[in-house]
């Protein structure tokens, strides 16, 4: 039908492609190159140092703390956001609840996910404030003065306070995704199970969950990726402190690049984040394609 050599199709593809190449792919490739150099943000001079940036990263005294914090964040988020969030989605889908009530609850659970991370961080700075914060005021009010903490100011608690904040913000997000996945499960399967005499728990566990398995895996992987990209939550609350007790990879990258002027080390940290998130993403793409007919 079309014999004439036509350049028009390229005109649709090229602008978008150039944007993605120029501002996503090239920077990421350059980052890999930078990770083998020592360089500063103020000058163009670069010195090849081989794997020295990686050696300094892995032997840095905060490295085990960062990995530990990122892993804590990851594991707790998987349990709370994905595990509890999915459970909550089941509860919302129960036929004991009216549609109206269900939608209102679902929307309220989701609302924190719409607020910017900095705003949530600043709100929780108030909630965790030792003098007038919500937590300590409540504890005093109910007579548990001995349980009062400095929360974000406590070395052992700071990272868990940040993690708790994220669970508050994002559990409803996963719940929303799972509710939609459950709604997409064909009614026929569920009705067949009802006829076979399966109770609500059996139905959820043996019918609905396996059919929504793909979405569940996707949610898990989003959560894992998010855990290793963690930055703003920490930056807007503790900035890694007290000491380095709540330091994470994303913040370490930022501080090295723009505070300590050690962009090579920052690039090496970037490569590590890249490896972790891309591995998880490849897994996710595999999973989301496997279910496609």
């Amino acid at each position: 039908m079309k014999k004439k050599k036509n350049l028009a199709p390229y005109a649709y593809v090229i602008p978008g492609l150039l944007m993605v190449l120029g501002f996503v792919y090239i920077p990421i490739i350059v980052n890999l190159v930078y990770s083998f150099f020592r360089l500063s943000s103020y000058s163009a001079s670069m010195k090849f140092v081989g794997l020295d940036n990686f050696r300094r990263l892995f032997t840095n005294e905060t490295f085990p703390i960062m990995i530990r914090n990122n892993v804590y964040y990851c594991v707790i988020s998987l349990i709370c956001q994905v595990g509890f969030g999915t459970f909550l989605a089941f509860m919302l889908e129960s036929n004991l609840i009216g549609d109206r009530f269900k939608t209102v609850c679902r929307n309220i659970y989701f609302i924190p996910a719409l607020v910017s991370l900095t705003a949530v961080g600043m709100m929780f700075n108030f909630i965790y404030n030792p003098q007038m914060g919500l937590l300590n005021t409540m504890l005093k009010h109910f007579g548990f003065v001995s349980l009062q903490q400095t929360w974000l100011g406590d070395r052992n608690l700071a990272i868990f306070c940040i993690i708790a904040m994220s669970q508050w913000q994002f559990t409803g997000y996963i719940t929303l995704l799972m509710v939609v996945a459950f709604q997409n499960v064909s009614r026929d399967y569920i009705e067949a199970a009802v006829i076979d005499g399966a109770g609500p728990v059996r139905r959820a566990w043996n019918i609905v969950l396996p059919l929504a398995k793909e979405q569940l895996l996707v949610c898990s992987i989003i959560t894992v990726i998010g855990a290793f990209k963690l930055f703003t939550e920490v930056y807007s609350t503790t900035v890694g402190g007290p000491g380095n007790s709540s330091q994470v990879l994303g913040l370490f990258l930022y501080q090295n690049a723009f505070l300590h002027d050690d962009m090579g080390m920052a690039a090496a940290t970037g490569v590590l984040i890249f490896i972790i998130t891309v591995t998880a993403s490849i897994f996710q793409l595999k999973v989301s394609h496997s279910g496609e007919v």
């Binding site: 199709p9 649709y12 996503v24 930078y34 509860m91 919500l134 409540m138 930022y254």
Partner: protein, 279 residues
């Protein structure tokens, strides 16, 4: 027997409602506490943050708005509007080009762009900073807009592609008979039919761009250009100990996306779920 069953169901029903309402409280109680304190004076808040204000200080909101919040809002609106426009334009063109023409290497281009979804902003941060400096774009609005567009294209293109594939070919064939060229078919047939997916993409991307912090924090210095998430952090520094005004500012800043969600929750949910399943 039947009675027992009814009672059991009723108890379950009550317990379930109590449980769900308890969670609603966990979400809303801190927010209510923040709203309450944003309407007090600083002394009152420190005295007892659970008490009701003696005098309702609605003026805190006006003060917050006047202390620069208005400018941060304006910047966010400008940056978001331009970004969203180009995200939708470039992504829909890409999706159209990739679904309607047999381009050599089309599949490769598709996977290349799709792969962009797996790449995180942190990894590009240091080189982008250098590139933007070299392009003399550092500390301009474009320093945010360009990366925002590039990082959101993969997700948006993917969502649109799935939709474009579902549009029946007959519509376009009729237009070809009428002598429309590909650009006319794109603007007069494909885009108007795709309004629902365009709305979903717009709103999900808006939520991302509006709340973006990492790039805004690194690529901007000038206070006059700062977007809301960054402005709020500066606000914290500027106000020092005027906590109640800061609270009012945080709440004002959070309101637009929440209101938008309440008005457009259908589009929101559709965009989010499609993106998560495929992304």
């Amino acid at each position: 027997m039947a009675d027992k069953y009814i009672i059991k169901t009723r108890i379950q029903k009550v317990l379930l409602h109590v449980f769900l309402l308890l969670l609603v409280c966990i979400i809303l109680f801190p927010v209510c506490w923040l709203v309450l304190n944003s309407l007090k004076t600083n002394q009152e808040m420190f005295l007892n943050s659970l008490a009701l204000p003696k005098k309702w200080m609605f003026v805190n909101y006006a003060t917050a708005w006047g202390k620069g919040l208005f400018f941060y809002f304006k910047n966010s609106v400008i940056v978001s509007a331009i970004s969203i426009f180009f995200i939708l334009l470039l992504s829909s063109m890409l999706a159209y080009g990739l679904t309607r023409f047999q381009l050599p290497g089309g599949t490769f281009v598709f996977f290349l762009i799709l792969g962009g979804m797996a790449l995180s902003e942190q990894v590009a941060l240091v080189p982008l900073y250098k590139i933007l400096q070299a392009l003399k774009l550092y500390n301009t609005r474009l320093a945010l807009i360009l990366p925002y567009i590039a990082f959101r294209i993969p997700f948006t293109m993917f969502l649109m592609r799935a939709y474009f594939i579902s549009i029946p070919k007959e519509l376009e064939e009729a237009a070809i008979v009428d002598g429309c060229n590909s650009f006319q078919r794109f603007t007069r047939i494909i885009l108007p039919i795709s309004k629902p997916v365009l709305a979903s993409c717009a709103i999900v991307n808006l939520n991302n761009v509006w709340n973006e912090f990492l790039f805004a924090n690194v690529f901007l210095e000038n206070k006059k250009l700062m977007t809301i998430p960054l402005g709020l952090m500066t606000f914290q520094g500027d106000l020092k100990s005027d906590y109640v005004v800061m609270l009012a500012g945080i709440l004002i800043a959070s309101l637009p996306m929440v209101l938008l969600f309440l008005c457009m929750s259908k589009q929101f949910v559709r965009g989010l779920t499609a993106g998560a399943v495929k992304g």
